[in-house]
């Protein structure tokens, strides 16, 4: 019978060396650089993104130091512009996307019982071109003004509104570095998206019908579809911008009749779906973590899939809610207000399904679950400020104020970063074979929650009081002083939390408890193999008969498959 079974729980057939490659360091490096293994590439994406998380976090701290008191001269106005441009660009393109792709790379094949992604070499290509983008963007810093023609980092904000990016307004090469980096990053993202879609639909193990695909691969497929239809326009825009800058074309050159508004449309046709590209994986993590830590199957699986796909579609039709102040027709205003509000229906469905999953469950408050619960609260609040902003009349008051900054950080940090932390605590044992330390995890969590709310709850108020975003300093008589001081302090608390987390990751890698294959008593296939998994993932290709194959195997007396 041995060849027809595969191991669960304690006994694992294949014992895996903790360090996958022995040999000189050069051999190890060579091994990583030439790898096409989805797990190694996943780890590389995650590591790359975490490094940039620290970099962009550092930039955020510089911004907050500058704003801690009125008339501060810690940063020059020029440096300040560069800091918020690099902070935003880095967080979206070099932290958010790569880390989510990293988890996708690592988890999707494992969760659908495959040996690798559909196109391993395309996968490696995508990683390397994306990391080239990151290095290129930061290369622009080197040399200060002028040396090697690099200038010193882009200063055009992450949305790079035209015509400020044209040669006339942006001489030197910083904008070129920005555009080429985004272009290269886009190519990598599109490659990964194609790969994920092909993997989810074509590499499933025996028995995994569409209705048995775990929610995470489902959401990753949806997110990849959004990448195809939304990141491609951004890539096209960068090509146009570069044509303008290098060949004298006039796409966004207002003096030759080009349009700045067209750039805004094109950018937000990417920009709004992008926020769902980032948040759908966060949902995906919640879909996996919340049931396991509530000891209940996810509530409403089909509704969850339908709502996620629905969110993906609706998000394609709301972009101009970023452009209410650009002056649209009242029909335009009404349309984009209503379509934006429509998103609350599927997101509401998802939220209630998560609550229903927790409801009556045996909840285990370990770190991944703590982060997930905070995510639920924060996601709802962020949705509410989003609805406020989508009312075009309100938006005219609040646009480009710190209220907007508070809103999107609520989503980006409060939902996405929190779920990224949850995911790291949850899957770190699988990836490294060691548990993260719970005590440190708790410190991280509580400091993070406190810091987050001190920063971003308070940040709404200077916004309501009229503080514009992206100003490098302010007058002392506006009533913003104390508020800004508190916001900056909150920022430092978060920074401390993240340093604890980094320490935990390093420390636990060497000292953490052995995880074993299935430390959380979970139900999806990635827990059916050793931690870390062997190169070939599964000794025997698995076969499933329900959405929770490991539950079936651990509970033969009460399998899900009996109810399907």
């Amino acid at each position: 019978m041995a060849d027809q079974s595969y191991p669960v729980g304690q006994g694992v057939e294949v014992t895996v060396e903790r360090s996958p490659a022995r040999g000189t360091w050069l051999e190890v490096v060579h091994d990583w650089i030439t790898t096409v293994d989805h797990k190694k590439l996943g780890i590389m994406y995650i590591a790359y993104a975490l490094v940039f998380l620290l970099v962009a976090g550092f930039e955020a701290m510089l911004i907050r130091i500058q704003l801690i008191k009125p008339h501060n001269d810690f940063l020059s106005p020029y440096t300040f512009n560069r800091m918020f441009t690099m902070h935003g660009t880095t967080m979206v393109f070099l932290v958010g996307m790569p880390i989510l792709f990293g988890f996708g790379n690592y988890l999707v094949p494992l969760m659908i019982g495959a040996r690798d992604m559909a196109f391993p070499r395309l996968n490696a290509f995508s990683f390397w071109i994306s990391s080239f983008a990151g290095l290129l963007l930061y290369y622009s810093f080197i040399g200060g003004v002028g040396l090697s023609g690099t200038g010193s980092a882009p200063d055009i904000a992450w949305f790079a509104y035209a015509p400020l990016t044209e040669k006339a307004f942006s001489p030197g090469h910083t904008t070129d570095y920005w555009a080429i980096a985004i272009l290269a990053n886009g190519i990598g993202s599109i490659g990964t998206a194609i790969n994920i879609i092909a993997t989810v639909f074509c590499m499933r193990c025996k028995g995994m019908t569409l209705s048995r695909i775990p929610l995470l691969p489902w959401l990753y497929a949806t997110m990849s579809f959004l990448v195809l239809v939304a990141v491609s326009p951004l890539t096209a825009c960068q090509a146009m911008l570069l044509l303008d800058r290098y060949l004298g074309a006039h796409f966004f050159d207002t003096q030759a009749g080009g349009s700045a508004i067209l750039w805004a449309h094109f950018f937000w046709i990417f920009g709004h779906p992008e926020v769902y590209v980032l948040v759908l994986p966060a949902f995906a993590f919640a879909n996996e973590i919340i049931p396991v830590f509530s000891r209940k199957a996810i509530f409403g699986y089909p509704a969850m899939v339908a709502a996620s796909v629905g969110i993906g579609f609706i998000s394609l039709g709301v972009w101009a809610h970023h452009m209410f102040t650009i002056g649209m027709t009242s029909f335009g205003n009404a349309f984009f207000t209503l379509s934006t509000m429509l998103v609350s229906i599927p997101t509401g469905i998802k939220t209630f399904n998560w609550l229903a999953t927790i409801w009556g469950g045996k909840i285990r408050f370990e770190t991944p679950m703590l982060f997930s619960i905070a995510f639920l609260f924060q996601w709802v609040i962020a949705g509410l400020t989003g609805i406020m902003l989508s009312v075009s009349a309100w938006n005219w008051q609040l646009h480009n104020s710190y209220f907007v900054v508070a809103h999107f950080h609520y989503v980006l940090v409060g939902a996405i970063v929190f779920m990224i932390f949850a995911a790291i605590y949850y899957w770190y044992p699988k990836i490294t074979g060691r548990m993260l330390d719970e005590t440190l995890g708790n410190w991280h969590f509580w400091l993070m929650v406190i810091g987050f709310h001190v920063t971003f709850d308070v940040m709404h108020f200077p916004g309501l009081l009229g503080m514009p975003r992206q100003i490098y300093t302010y007058e002392p008589d506006r009533g913003w002083n104390t508020l800004n001081f508190i916001v900056s302090i909150g920022g430092f608390i978060q920074a401390i939390a993240i340093l604890i987390f980094v320490y935990n990751m390093v420390h636990s890698y060497f000292r953490g408890d052995d995880a074993g294959p299935d430390p959380w008593d979970a139900w999806t296939l990635e827990w059916a193999t050793a931690s870390p998994p062997p190169v070939y993932n599964f000794a025997i290709e698995p076969e499933v008969a329900s959405r929770r194959p490991l539950w079936d195997r651990k509970h033969p007396e009460d399998p899900d498959s009996a109810f399907e």
Binding site: V8, A118, I194, C202, S224, A249, G257, E543
Partner: protein, 198 residues
């Protein structure tokens, strides 16, 4: 060691999945379509907004012949797909070569058109909005033609070396899918540039 049975009797039946080449090509085409959409929208948006000429009316001639060449190549590539499926390698080579030839003729047509625009009408990408949007949209399409031709030439060379066999039919079809897409995009570009735009 705790092991649990893996086999589930009800699944002994065949387990088939969509082919990854087709799915990936469909995904790539989705991405490419949105790139083309952006360029098409820009073209239409800037129509008639030039500060000075030449305008499409002054400069453009409808490239009927070259367009027919490209569109009909889709027909020949279907013949090639059929041929390789039925194991007729010689016929495959013939239809495949004709497809490539038609593609090259089309590309030549674009070259002739650009030459005349630049030399006779002094229209470059930097001249005005028409030049900007025209060269980038048509150029984007032409670059896709080039990529398709290069890939098809590889297949032709391999086939002449005797390395293409009927069991490669599926890969040939995936490539043909891309070529059909390039053709379909030309119909859109043609309509936008030469029908609506003139």
């Amino acid at each position: 060691m705790a092991t649990v049975p893996l086999q589930h009797d009800q699944h002994d039946a065949e387990w088939t999945l969509p082919s990854r080449g087709t799915v990936a090509m469909a995904a790539l085409i989705t991405a490419e379509s949105s790139i083309f959409t952006i360029f098409v929208v820009a073209y239409l948006y800037y129509l008639g907004r030039d500060v000075h000429g030449p305008t499409p009316k002054d400069a453009l001639e409808v490239p009927w012949f070259y367009s027919i060449c490209l569109i009909s190549s889709s027909f020949f590539i279907v013949l090639a797909e059929r041929a390789i499926e039925h194991g007729k390698i010689a016929a495959f080579r013939l239809w495949w070569a004709i497809t490539i030839l038609l593609g090259i003729i089309f590309l030549y047509g674009t070259g002739v058109e650009w030459h005349s625009l630049i030399v006779d009408h002094h229209l470059t990408i930097a001249t005005n909005l028409f030049g900007t949007t025209y060269y980038s949209l048509v150029g984007l399409h032409a670059s896709h033609v080039v990529v398709g031709l290069v890939m098809m030439l590889f297949v032709l060379v391999f086939s002449l070396m005797g390395a293409v066999h009927p069991h490669h039919a599926y890969r040939v079809k995936t490539l043909a899918l891309y070529w059909h897409f390039v053709d379909a995009v030309w119909i859109v570009v043609f309509t936008v540039v030469y029908v609506v735009g003139r």
